[in-house]
C-alpha cells in the first residue's frame, strides 16, 4: 500500500490504474481510555491532535467527530488565510498561523494548496486612507508584512475592481498583505487527519458526544453514541456548537452563534489573482484554482444554528460584488451555503480552561477559524499537554471577560466578525 505522496508515486499509480493507494486514515473502534480526548474533528481538533504527538509526544489521543471530516466549518468557509489585524496579541496569533501554513504542505506530505496570492483591503475616502495607514503601521510594528497602496497600485493588482470616480464608494487606495492568500480547506482537514493518524491518533467519526462525565467536579471523559470514553484531559474544539457542549458540561461562554454565508460562481477564465475585500460593500472574493469565484461577506443579522443563510445578507453580498466589480454582474452562481460561527463580544477567540477542571476550550473564532487552524492547533495542544498557557494563547484566556482586557479586533481592524 502506498503511504506517501510523491511525484514518483503519482506517476507509478497513474501507470497502475491508481489501485495501490490505501485509505488516508484508519477508522478505529474507540478504546476505553486516552491521555487526551479532543471533541470535534474539524481543522482545529485535528491540528491539535497532530501537534500533541509532534510537539509534546502525547501519543494516546482520540479525536471524536459527530459527523465526517470536512463536513463542518472547515468545509464551509471561503479559504482565506491572512494576518492583517491590529493588536499585537492578534498578529502574534494569526501570523504564527500564516508561518505554519507556509510550510504545511511539505510538513504534512499533503498539498493544502496554500497560494500566497496576497490580499487587498480597499479604502474609499481620505479618512479611510488615514486609517489604512494606521493599520499598515500597526501590522509592521507587530511584525507582519503590510503595504499602503495608492489607487494606481491597486489598479495593477486587481484591474477588475470598480475604479470609476462615479462608483458608490470610489477606491482611494488599499492595505496590501502579500503573504496572505487562500488554501484548499478540505485538504487542510484531510492533511492533518492523515498526518495525525500516521502518528497513532485515533480519529473516530460518526460518534457524537452525548454527555460530559465529571467526577468530583473534574471532567474525566465523555459519553458518546459509541460508548463511554475516558481521558486525562478533554479539549473541546466544536466551533458552531460551543454553547451546546458548554451546556452539557456545565460551563458558560460569552458566545452568540450566527450563520455566515458563502457563494461559489460557475468556473471562468482568470479574472483576479489576489483576494479583494471592499469593506463598505461588505463583500470579498477570490478565484479558486478551478476558476470559480469564491465570494463571502458579513454575518447574518439573526442568531441561528440553521446551516443555511437568509436573504438580506445574500442581497447585500451579491449586490456588493456587482458594485465592487461590475464586470461580474452576469456571472452565475453555482453553490451557496452557510456555516455556523461562534461570535465573541470582542471578535477574538477563546482558548483556555473552560471552568470545569480537566476540560479546555478552543472556540469563538467567529468568521476567522480557518486561517487560524495551525496556530489554534499548536496552542491548544500546548494547553492540553501542559495544563498551562503558551505565551501567545495567554491573552485569549476566557478570564479576559472578567478582567476587562478585551482584544477588540471588531473595532480595531474593522473585520467582519
Amino acid at each position: 500500500m502506498t503511504k506517501t505522496y510523491s511525484a514518483f508515486n503519482l506517476l507509478r499509480e497513474g501507470l497502475r490504474g491508481q489501485k495501490g493507494w490505501g485509505p488516508a486514515w484508519r477508522s478505529p473502534k474507540p478504546r476505553a481510555t486516552y491521555d487526551v480526548i479532543i471533541i470535534g474533528g474539524g481543522g482545529h481538533g485535528l491540528a491539535t491532535a497532530y501537534y500533541l504527538v509532534k510537539n509534546h509526544g502525547v501519543t494516546n489521543v482520540a479525536v471524536i467527530e459527530k459527523g465526517w471530516l470536512g463536513g463542518g466549518n472547515t468545509g464551509r468557509n471561503t479559504t482565506v488565510i491572512r494576518s492583517n489585524y491590529y493588536y499585537p496579541e492578534s498578529t502574534a496569533l494569526y501570523d504564527l498561523s500564516v508561518k505554519l501554513y507556509e510550510g504545511l504542505s511539505r510538513e504534512l506530505n499533503y498539498n493544502v494548496m496554500f497560494s500566497q496570492r496576497g490580499m487587498v483591503v480597499t479604502a474609499h475616502s481620505e479618512p479611510e486612507m488615514e486609517l489604512a495607514a494606521r493599520n499598515v503601521n500597526a501590522m509592521r510594528l507587530n511584525g507582519a508584512d503590510a503595504d499602503l497602496l495608492d489607487v494606481d497600485q491597486v489598479k495593477k493588482l486587481a484591474p477588475i475592481l470598480n475604479f470609476s470616480p462615479d462608483a458608490r464608494f470610489p477606491i482611494h487606495g488599499a492595505v496590501w498583505q502579500g503573504r496572505a492568500g487562500t488554501g484548499r480547506h478540505d485538504a487542510v482537514a484531510w492533511g492533518y487527519a492523515r498526518a495525525a493518524d500516521a502518528l497513532g491518533v485515533d480519529i473516530i467519526q460518526n460518534c457524537e458526544v452525548t454527555d460530559v462525565i465529571t467526577e468530583g467536579g473534574r471532567c474525566v471523559g465523555v459519553a458518546t453514541t459509541q460508548g463511554e470514553i475516558r481521558g486525562g484531559a478533554v479539549g473541546a474544539a466544536v466551533a458552531g456548537h460551543s454553547s451546546v457542549l458548554a451546556k452539557l458540561a456545565g460551563y458558560t461562554l460569552p458566545i452568540t452563534s450566527f450563520a455566515l454565508q458563502a457563494f461559489v460562481s460557475e468556473p471562468m477564465k482568470p479574472v483576479i489573482d489576489t483576494v479583494a475585500f471592499c469593506p463598505p460593500y461588505g463583500t470579498y472574493f477570490s478565484q479558486s484554482d478551478k476558476g470559480g469565484l469564491v465570494i463571502g461577506g458579513g454575518l447574518d443579522r439573526v442568531p441561528s444554528y440553521g446551516q443555511r443563510g437568509n436573504m438580506p445578507i445574500q442581497e447585500a453580498v451579491l449586490g456588493g460584488l456587482v458594485e465592487m466589480a461590475p464586470a461580474l454582474a452576469k456571472v452565475k452562481l453555482l453553490r451557496h451555503w452557510a456555516g455556523i460561527v461562534d461570535v465573541t463580544p470582542d471578535s477574538s477567540p477563546i482558548i483556555g480552561p473552560s471552568g470545569v477542571e480537566g476540560l479546555y476550550v478552543n472556540c469563538g473564532w467567529g468568521t476567522g477559524g480557518f486561517k487560524a487552524i495551525p496556530a489554534g492547533g499548536t496552542l491548544f495542544a500546548h494547553i492540553l499537554a501542559t495544563g498551562t498557557h503558551h505565551d501567545i494563547s495567554r491573552p485569549f484566556d476566557p478570564d479576559r471577560f472578567i478582567t476587562g482586557r478585551l482584544i477588540d479586533e471588531g473595532a480595531a481592524s474593522g473585520i467582519a466578525h
Partner: protein, 96 residues
Amino acid sequence: MQLFPCPFCGDRDEREFHFAGEAGKVRPDTAGSEAEVSAKDWSEYLYTQRNDHGHVREIWMHLPCQEVFLLERHSVTMAVIGATSFRDVGTKEASA
C-alpha cells in the same frame, strides 16, 4: 424575506427588525451605596450568553415604530413562535 411579527404593526420584513439581546438577563443591582457588584457578576451580565439550540426568547426592536418586544423563535428552523409587547406583560414578567 422572512416576516417577523411586530406586536404593534403586524407582520413585517425581517430587515426592519433589530436583534437586541437575549431575554431574561437581570442587570446587577447598583442602587444604594452598599451595592458592590463583583467583576464576575458584571461579566456574567454583560457577556455570558445562553445561546440556546432550539427554542429561544429574545428582545427585538421593530425599527420603524420603535416597539421593543419579546420574540420567541426556534434557532435551528428559524420558525417564529410568538411575539409579546413589553407594554402588555410588563418588563419584569417578560424578562423572568
